[in-house]
């Protein structure tokens, strides 16, 4: 069996898990200053406090897994995205410490709240830029990145950055619709009602721009059998969007989040179609970047045992903290 393909799927899974799970954490961060100081913000924070750390770990698995399974890709992509990745890491610092710091220092709570929001915003925008920069192509010479340190900057990468901000914010708002009640629940619905149309606009813009970046994407989406997907995708996406809209409008608890997840899944699947079987789009295939068979096999043995365990205790942790976040301590 070709372990390279297995590892490509595992890394893709880790990235998808990260995007979805830290997506709603970061989305709540992005919306954070929009919530009223006091109980509303406390509730928004508490809706993710027990799980954010586990969610963020998928980012470390994505990075660490890339280094382990596709070291060449790791060594080319990370220098190419030096500035946005540094910004992302610093953003995540402010986001992560805010969970503890804001409770410890009421006098400066507004500062840490602002840090939480700004950190989430910067981290998300940088992740979006990363996606755009990868899609538009990276300069490579031999086994190394050969561009300047601002090559990532383009209209397209800024567009994908902004898109991800809106996308995560939508995911965060729908998570809060599910996990809260009262004023913050209503606020989240109000935000989601704006964010959903904005999200659709951005996804549309990125989808229209992507096939024209380079010949490869165009051929994939407008030639058989990709054309089938090109036709099918808007239909499925439209269905999920309508469901989300109805859910938000009627205030159904979990439906908007589930529908947002479906839209994320479709978007990620679309990205997969665009990129496969490259690990650096248009430049390096998964086989060119792959680690030797011994490395792949050694990790796979552990992953097959450990991944189900991780998914099981992560699910258990979510189960422990199930239900709505209350307004006051224990009720």
């Amino acid at each position: 069996m070709d372990l390279t393909i297995v590892w490509a799927l595992i890394i893709a899974f880790a990235v998808a898990m990260y995007v979805v799970m830290d997506g709603f954490d970061l989305g709540i961060g992005i919306l954070f200053l929009g919530f009223k100081v006091g109980k509303e913000r406390d509730q928004a924070m508490n809706a993710i406090a027990p799980v954010w750390d586990g969610n963020e770990t998928w980012l470390v698995l994505g990075g660490g897994g890339l280094l382990a399974a596709f070291p060449l890709a790791y060594a080319i992509v990370l220098p190419a995205l030096y500035a946005p990745l540094t910004a992302m890491l610093l953003g995540l610092v402010f986001r992560g410490v805010a969970f503890e710091f804001r409770w410890r220092d009421p006098a400066h709570r507004r500062w840490w709240d602002a840090g939480f929001c700004l950190g989430s915003l910067v981290a998300t925008f940088a992740q979006g830029i990363t996606l755009g920069a990868l899609l538009q192509g990276i300069s490579i010479e031999g086994r190394a990145y050969a561009g300047s340190w601002w090559e990532w900057l383009s209209g397209f990468s800024l567009l994908t950055g902004a898109s991800l901000v809106v996308a995560y914010a939508l995911l965060g708002a729908t998570w809060l619709i599910w996990k809260t009640e009262g004023r913050i629940h209503d606020d989240a619905r109000r935000f989601a009602a704006w964010l959903l149309p904005a999200f659709l606009l951005f996804v549309g813009a990125v989808s229209l721009a992507t096939p024209f970046l380079e010949g490869q994407y165009y051929q994939r989406w407008f030639a058989w059998p990709g054309l089938l997907l090109t036709v099918l995708m808007p239909l499925l996406f439209g269905g999920a969007a309508l469901t989300a809209w109805e859910g938000i409008r009627r205030g159904w608890d979990w439906l908007p989040f589930a529908a947002a997840l479906a839209m994320f899944a479709l978007t990620l699947a679309g990205l997969g179609v665009s990129i496969w079987p490259d690990v650096i789009p248009g430049r390096v295939t998964i086989w060119q970047a792959a680690a030797p068979y011994e490395s792949q096999l050694f990790m796979l043995v552990g992953s097959l045992v450990l991944m189900p365990m991780i998914l099981a205790y992560t699910a258990w942790s979510y189960w422990v903290f199930r239900g709505k976040i209350g307004e006051e301590g224990y009720h």
């Binding site: 660490g64 220098p79 610093l90 990145y145 709505k324």
Partner: protein
């Protein structure tokens, strides 16, 4: 200086800065997680409230330290690629899987159970909560296991071959690679250092409150526990440190030469240089105070054993002596003081004055931060000591760096310095504030501490969720 040289220097400073800051937090949280597990276990076993109060007290501090460790740790996992891409490409097939195992076996374990440990006391049973605490503690240890294995492989690389792309690929069993020659020593030495660091902090906080005459049962218990830890573990650390040194002598002789300040070879027994000012240009130690032949006795267990000096090593393969000479002495000096504090506490205990001897308490307060200093000094010794190589004798640090222009590296370095000093200074201040009040009866929970206006609440009704 050429741009490439500037960029290399900046990248090295950035790595040294971010890893040193990061290392402070795990050095504390590895020991603290185990201490929390012990406290909760004792509470479940004895039912005494003081253990629960201590658990809740240190849990709040643990949450802060852990959060700072997580955010500074993610920086590390990406910095290998952003700043050391040639290293990542070439060593990835060997160190990558080890780091992936760290994520899979340690990071997820810690993160997955941390939420329950911090907020779940009233949501799951006592037994399950204790299990979660143990899982977090286990996770911190497993994390140390893998990352120190990676570091040790870079210090004493074995089981590799070069492929046609110039990558180091596995050529022996993974067991050989993981348990490379320096790993067992480095692991034990580092984990004990983390336990000592925690014991000194706990002891220092306890002593502080004893000095302030706030001798609640909680304060007395934690001071006593910390002093037991010190007296039992500090001597073990001396032995382990010695073994680690002998292992280094066998595999990385020039590191030991620099630690000892031996520029010249000594065919008939080498002196132990206690202090002096190293001068790498003149290849000598100025104003040195030395004990004849003692170095040979320590390193070879023979007064007259010959010891080679740096004069046997080509200049372009020597580590910078000045830094290592001093960092090593700081580490050893603090280690000796820890041993002394442990003995002092033992004497006080035997005389029944453990909680009343103010001199002991003053010493314990003064030694509170000593573990951090010793850990960083030791880390500097081992990391600077393997220079100029990043993979010992195989890949030079200068050849491992990313092709990033110096303005970019300079800007990121400035950003890291500003953010780290702001954020981690604030965090340290908050931790000190938490430590400033004594643990006492009815210690508040993390979730409903007076300062926290709303907590994580239990499910309001059955059938909610999923």
């Amino acid at each position: 200086m050429a741009d490439a040289e500037t960029a290399l220097l900046l990248a090295r400073i950035q790595f040294a800065f971010t890893i040193s800051f990061h290392f402070i937090f795990p050095a504390f949280s590895i020991g603290l997680a185990s201490y929390l597990a012990v406290l909760e276990g004792l509470w479940l076993k004895t039912g005494q409230d003081k253990y629960l109060n201590l658990f809740k007290y240190w849990l709040k501090i643990f949450a802060m330290a852990f959060a700072m460790g997580v955010v500074s740790g993610i920086v590390m996992s990406y910095q290998f690629g952003t700043n050391w891409s040639v290293f990542s490409d070439r060593a990835g097939p060997i160190i990558g899987p080890l780091m992936a195992y760290e994520v899979l076996t340690a990071f997820f374990l810690e993160a997955g159970f941390l939420g329950v440990m911090l907020f779940g006391m009233n949501r799951v049973g006592k037994g399950l909560h204790f299990a979660a605490t143990c899982m977090v503690a286990l996770g911190t240890f497993i994390s140390a296991f893998w990352i120190l294995s990676v570091n040790s492989w870079m210090q004493t690389p074995v089981g590799w071959a070069l492929n046609e792309a110039g990558q180091f690929v596995p050529a022996a069993s993974w067991w050989t690679i993981i348990f490379n020659p320096s790993f067992p020593y480095r692991l034990v030495h580092t984990v004990i250092a983390a336990y000592l660091t925690t014991a000194l902090v706990v002891g220092g906080v306890g002593a502080w409150h004893l000095l302030k005459r706030r001798d609640t049962p909680e304060v007395r218990t934690m001071f006593s526990m910390a002093m037991w830890m010190l007296v039992l573990v500090a001597p073990v650390q001396v032995v382990v440190g010695d073994l680690h040194g002998l292992n280094t002598l066998a595999h990385q002789p020039q590191k030991v030469m620099a630690m000892e300040g031996h520029y010249q070879s000594h065919p008939h027994g080498a002196p132990l240089i206690l202090f002096g000012i190293p001068d790498s240009e003149a290849e000598m130690i100025h104003y040195s105070i030395e004990i004849p032949r003692l170095s040979s006795l320590i390193l070879k267990h023979d007064l007259n054993a010959p010891l080679a000096g740096l004069d046997t090593i080509p200049r372009d393969q020597r580590p910078p002596v000045g830094i290592i000479f001093w960092s090593f002495r700081i580490m050893v000096g603090l280690g000796v003081m820890m041993l002394g504090l442990g003995l002092l506490a033992l004497v006080a205990r035997l005389r029944g004055k453990l909680h009343d001897w103010r001199l002991l308490h003053r010493c314990a307060v003064a030694m509170g931060p000593a573990g951090f200093v010793a850990v960083i000094a030791g880390w500097i010794t081992t990391e600077v000591g393997r220079q100029p190589f990043v993979i010992y004798n195989l890949l030079r640090t200068a050849d491992a760096v990313s092709p990033i222009a110096s303005p970019a590296v300079g800007a990121s370095l400035v950003a890291f310095v500003i953010v780290y000093f702001t954020v981690f200074a604030a965090g340290t201040w908050y931790i000190l504030k938490l430590m400033a009040h004594a643990p006492a009866a009815h210690e508040p929970d993390l979730a409903d501490a007076p300062i926290r206006s709303a907590g994580i609440t239990p499910a309001p009704s059955v059938g909610e969720g999923r």
